[in-house]
Symmetry: C2
Subunit: 144 residues, 2 copies
DNA sequence: TAAAAGAGGCATTTGAGGTGCATCTTTTGA
DNA sequence: TCAAAAGATGCACCTCAAATGCCTCTTTTA
């Protein structure tokens, strides 16, 4: 019942980039969050494929937001990385439950999911980002 | 991102019982849903421990609802079986994310979870139950 | 006292996700 | 033109929670 680490890394990367305009390296992001570079790289690839970020290869390359932090919704990122948030198979897949036609559960969980996503979709990336200064300050504290 | 089968079985068992007053055997429930008796038995035990159903051992024993279908909320059952519905560790556990103090994500996902549970808590078991006739009808159809 | 029925524990399997590594491709600049 | 930087990609293994099945124990009734 929780988001995968991939989604977590993707969101963190977006937050990092949104708080620090310009181009940054995957290595830099990974070190900032103390995560393996490989994991960040995989989240980054998907983010690039889905158009959230732009990545540039080669010397001086790196990644940067491809869209404004205001236009990216947290819910959209979660959906792209998690697929459905369906709580039960019967919400998204046909023919799973023996009593399906007579069971109101399907509708109830679909509605629960809808309410959750509706809210997450209403939250733009920009809303969860704090100025880079605050992030930096905390990291320095943490390192001491 | 979905409920465990245990939770699924628990909900189905409750629906079965709510639609058919009186005492029923675990074996009967298992056969109705075409699930292994063992799995149902385990969900049943937890349901009994948490006071949703009453179980009676021995000859002529079985299980039955211990509370009214109106007083049992789907959300409560889900919480009891799934623990937290937190989407991210940082929502329910301290000290997971490096940037936690500067990250608005924690609050956002907590709110998303709250909205989902608020809805699920508002749905009573009685609302997702159809008369036994409907269930029976479908099963007969399915068996042909 | 035997049979019914739930309680409980254990051992195994399984699959998704996490993790690390090796290699390829692109790009730049000396 | 070539070496180094940096992202892209695929592969293999690991890990852990959930699922699964089985066996035995305990309670209850006729």
């Amino acid at each position: 019942m929780r988001l995968s680490l991939q989604t977590d890394y993707a969101l963190r990367t977006l937050i990092y980039l949104a708080g620090r305009p310009g181009r940054h390296q995957v290595r830099e992001v990974a070190e900032f969050f103390r995560i393996s570079k490989d994991h960040v790289a995989k989240a980054v690839r998907r983010l690039a494929q889905q158009g959230y970020i732009r990545s540039v290869r080669g010397v001086g390359g790196g990644i940067e937001l491809a869209r404004s932090a205001e236009s990216i919704s947290i819910g959209q990122v979660v959906e792209d990385f998690e697929g459905s948030l369906a709580l039960l198979d019967c919400v998204s897949i046909e023919g799973v439950c023996t009593i399906q036609p007579a069971c109101g559960l399907r509708h109830v969980f679909a509605e629960a999911e809808r309410r959750q996503l509706e809210y997450l979709n209403s939250v733009p990336l920009s809303q969860v980002v704090r100025p880079a200064g605050e992030l930096q300050e905390f990291v320095l504290l943490d390192l001491n």
